[in-house]
């Protein structure tokens, strides 16, 4: 095949999600004119997709390494409960115990890993990393113990809840890597276990934990206080040029997308993911520590899912064990629409961002058109499959036909 057509074809396949995004945006602009295009509506869509985008970004990395993470929805649920309870409870609760224990575990591994990196290789100080890790983790643990009676601050939940999510994700990765079990099965197990954990922590078989801010006429229940005002910022719009413009959740979405893009395009870790997704055995033979990469990528996915749980909690002022129900499917849909192959090794974050926006805009446009819910569901299904069909090289085939006369 001539190089130009081939290059065009591959770039067109790569661009398919963006062309989808552009065409759906145009459709919205034409169908709903004023309402769709106005700033308020656009920011709404951004705010709405931002939360679900986080697990989709983590999922992209996992799928690139030929894995799958079915547990992200449950981790969103779990972390929303954890977050709500940490903010509201003023006594020791299952949530604070779990968060502090698992958070300490996370810090231990991270600190000792960091110290190990700093040490000269082959040195005799092998005892140092674990000791420093223990000391650092113990200190952080002691500090967080002091916080319990006053309730956790916004910063602390933003740090601790994703840490807990990352540890649960790492458990996924550990079992997948060391146990040599298919990711589908392991994360299916975690999907069930994390919801169970969420219900256990929530108490009474899985009650809702609402978030309240101090307000006149506020009615409190049980042992709860009120959430810090700053937590409300996570659901508000951040002022730019004096007008409230950017939804805070959108900032997290953009930051996470940039970080994941950076990992995939600039870091060795990113290249390893593609390599493992392409062919795990080859990757192993070429000296990549496949197990370590897997554990880290599932930890990353778990951490992002937990962050989404915190943002859910802020956006809907509640944490509950069914918060993220079926979110893993939405995340997978976004990844797939974005052109990432479920077989691994092929795909990008930019595609996933487009995929997330396509799903968000589609629902928004159909709502604005007042299309009945059942029709919306059908269209969503058609779009998912249609988008993948387009990327299956059908566009490339058409293009080849178009160019055949000229190049052959």
């Amino acid at each position: 095949m001539p190089p130009l057509a081939s290059r065009l074809r591959s770039s067109l396949n790569h661009l398919a999600p963006f062309m989808g995004l552009i065409s759906i945006f145009l459709a919205g602009a034409i169908l709903n004119q004023g309402t769709f295009l106005n700033l308020y509506n656009q920011l709404n869509v951004l705010g709405r997709v931002s939360i679900i985008a986080l697990p989709a970004i983590g999922m992209t990395l996992v799928i690139l390494a030929a894995g799958i993470d079915l547990s992200v929805g449950s981790l969103v649920s779990f972390s929303s409960v954890l977050c709500a309870m940490l903010l509201m409870e003023r006594e020791w609760s299952r949530a604070s115990v779990a968060a502090i224990l698992i958070g300490t575990l996370f810090l231990f591994f991270v600190i000792q890993g960091a110290v190990r990196l700093l040490l000269p290789s082959g040195g005799g100080l092998r005892w140092l990393p674990p000791v420093v890790g223990c000391a650092g983790a113990a200190m952080a643990c002691w500090m967080s113990l002091q916080v319990v009676p006053a309730g956790f601050s916004t910063w602390m939940v933003l740090l601790m809840v994703p840490m807990v999510g990352a540890v649960l994700g790492a458990v996924n990765g550990l079992v997948i890597a060391k146990g040599k079990i298919q990711p589908f099965i392991v994360t299916l197990g975690m999907m069930s276990a994390a919801v169970g954990l969420a219900k256990f922590i929530a108490g009474k078989g899985g009650q809702i934990h609402a978030i309240y801010y101090e307000a006149a006429g506020y009615v409190a229940a049980g042992t709860v206080g009120t959430a810090p005002r700053s937590f409300d910022l996570l659901s508000s719009k951040i002022p730019l040029f004096g007008i409230p413009l950017l939804p805070a959740a959108g900032l997290f979405f953009i930051a996470a997308a940039l970080l994941a893009h950076f990992i995939l395009t600039r870091l060795k870790f990113g290249r390893y993911l593609y390599a493992i997704g392409g062919n795990e055995e080859t990757a192993r033979l070429s000296g990549i520590d496949v197990d370590k990469v897997k554990i880290r990528v599932y930890a990353f996915s778990g951490g992002l899912a937990a962050l989404a749980g915190v943002l859910y909690c802020a956006a809907y002022t509640q944490g509950k064990p069914d918060a993220g129900l079926t979110w893993e499917l939405d995340a997978i849909a976004a990844v797939v629409i974005g052109g990432t192959s479920l077989m691994g090794g092929k795909g990008s974050i930019t595609g996933t961002v487009a995929g997330v926006l396509i799903i968000g805009y589609l629902a928004n446009i159909l709502n604005l058109q007042e299309v009945p819910s059942e029709v919306q569901d059908i269209l969503k299904g058609v779009i998912i499959v249609g988008a993948v069909l387009l990327q299956q090289g059908i566009m490339g085939k058409w293009l080849r036909r178009l160019f055949r006369t000229r190049y052959e």
Binding site: T35, N38, Y40, N41, N44, R48, K199, K204, G205, G206, Q207, I208, A210, Y212, A215, G217, Y218, V219, A220, A221, G222, Y312, A315, Y316, T317, Q318, K320, P321, D322, A363, N364, N367, L368, E370, P372, S373, E374
Partner: protein, 327 residues
């Protein structure tokens, strides 16, 4: 569904194990053992349902024991529960089934084995059971309709726009809550009902729907959602637009931690109690066991709803044992 073959005996064994434990205590004289199969505890309403039943059972001290089994939203598990209850010969069975048809045969078996079965919340196709206890969603929808008409100017004179967000329309509660409401409001020529999208009972979905809908209809007077979390989600969307003061929000369910709290905090104008049937079901079971009540197969007992507004909400919050008022 290949795991069903393995799971079924496991669930049976687990249920039987629980019952064995209960059975040992049953040798105590005069102790009544009642088996209860709850379809799921994922929904907060069912958590309250179990909690209320637990409190009611505790009122009888040690004379009554209720064995709670959670079917994890699967009909198969409920069938296994009932079979285990029959094998253990409990005094009565309470069941809140997943759907109308799935458990019918098992309930028939239990009834034929001489164990009275009380069906709670959702009805089943087999009508030979000892009693059905539940709330009536259509009547709740009607009550919401009456309140809406009252607020908008009274029968015959009511004028205004109502936006509706439905629960899952594939479920009977969703259909009935809509039908009851439309029956009353539909008589008013001055009222227009808009919307009707499916919010799937979820706060986040309802918020998204309301965010979109309120841009099109800024002039609605009442937003009627088929449950409280959806009404709350819609309120959050209205607040972003500064419309939360002029729109009145109606929810359904009236759970102490949710709807009642939102009514108390001036977020919802009203919620309509969807009462849990556990306590009444237990009372009826005990009456039957003690011979104080004659079984009329297929008898239906409807527990009434209450309209909860700012005026009476404290009563419903205080009925929750671990809630206190900071007002």
């Amino acid at each position: 569904m290949k795991n069903r073959i393995i799971l079924r005996p496991l669930i049976f064994l687990a249920a039987a194990g629980l019952l064995l434990q209960a059975g040992c205590q049953r040798t105590e004289k005069g102790k009544v053992v009642i088996g209860f199969s709850q379809v799921t505890v994922k929904e907060p309403w069912r958590v309250v349902f179990n909690e209320n039943l637990r409190i009611k059972a505790a009122e009888y001290n040690d004379r009554v024991e209720v064995i709670f089994l959670d079917a994890d939203d699967k009909t198969e598990n409920q069938v296994e529960h009932i079979k285990a209850f029959i094998a253990k010969r409990v005094d009565a069975i309470l069941i809140s089934p997943k759907e109308a048809s799935g458990c019918s045969r098992a309930i028939q078996e239990a009834t034929e084995a001489g164990i009275p079965v009380i069906v709670l919340d959702r009805d089943v196709t087999y009508k030979g059971y000892a009693a059905y206890v539940g709330a009536d969603n259509e009547r709740i929808g009607e009550a919401a309709g009456e309140e809406a008409v009252r607020i908008l100017g009274g029968p015959g004179k009511a004028r205004g726009k109502i936006y509706e967000i439905c629960g899952s329309l594939a479920s009977t509660p969703g259909q009935e809550r809509r039908d009851g409401f439309h029956q009353i409001v539909g008589r008013e020529p001055g009222i227009e009902i808009l919307g009707g999208l499916d919010g799937d009972w979820k706060l986040d979905k309802a918020k998204a729907i309301a965010q979109d809908a309120l841009q099109l209809h800024r002039d609605i007077d009442i937003l009627y959602a088929h449950n409280d979390p959806m009404a709350y989600g819609a309120w959050q969307a209205a607040k972003e637009l500064g419309l939360e003061k002029r729109i009145r929000f109606f929810g359904i369910d009236g759970l102490p931690q949710e709807g009642c709290m939102w009514v108390a905090n001036n977020i919802l104008a009203a919620t309509f109690l969807y009462p849990t049937p556990g306590e009444k079901g237990l009372e009826i079971a005990l009456e039957i066991i003690r011979g104080q009540r004659k079984i009329k197969p297929g008898e239906k007992i409807i527990i009434p709803s209450t309209t909860i507004t700012r005026d009476n909400v404290n009563r419903f919050i205080q009925s929750n044992p671990d809630a206190k008022s900071a007002l």
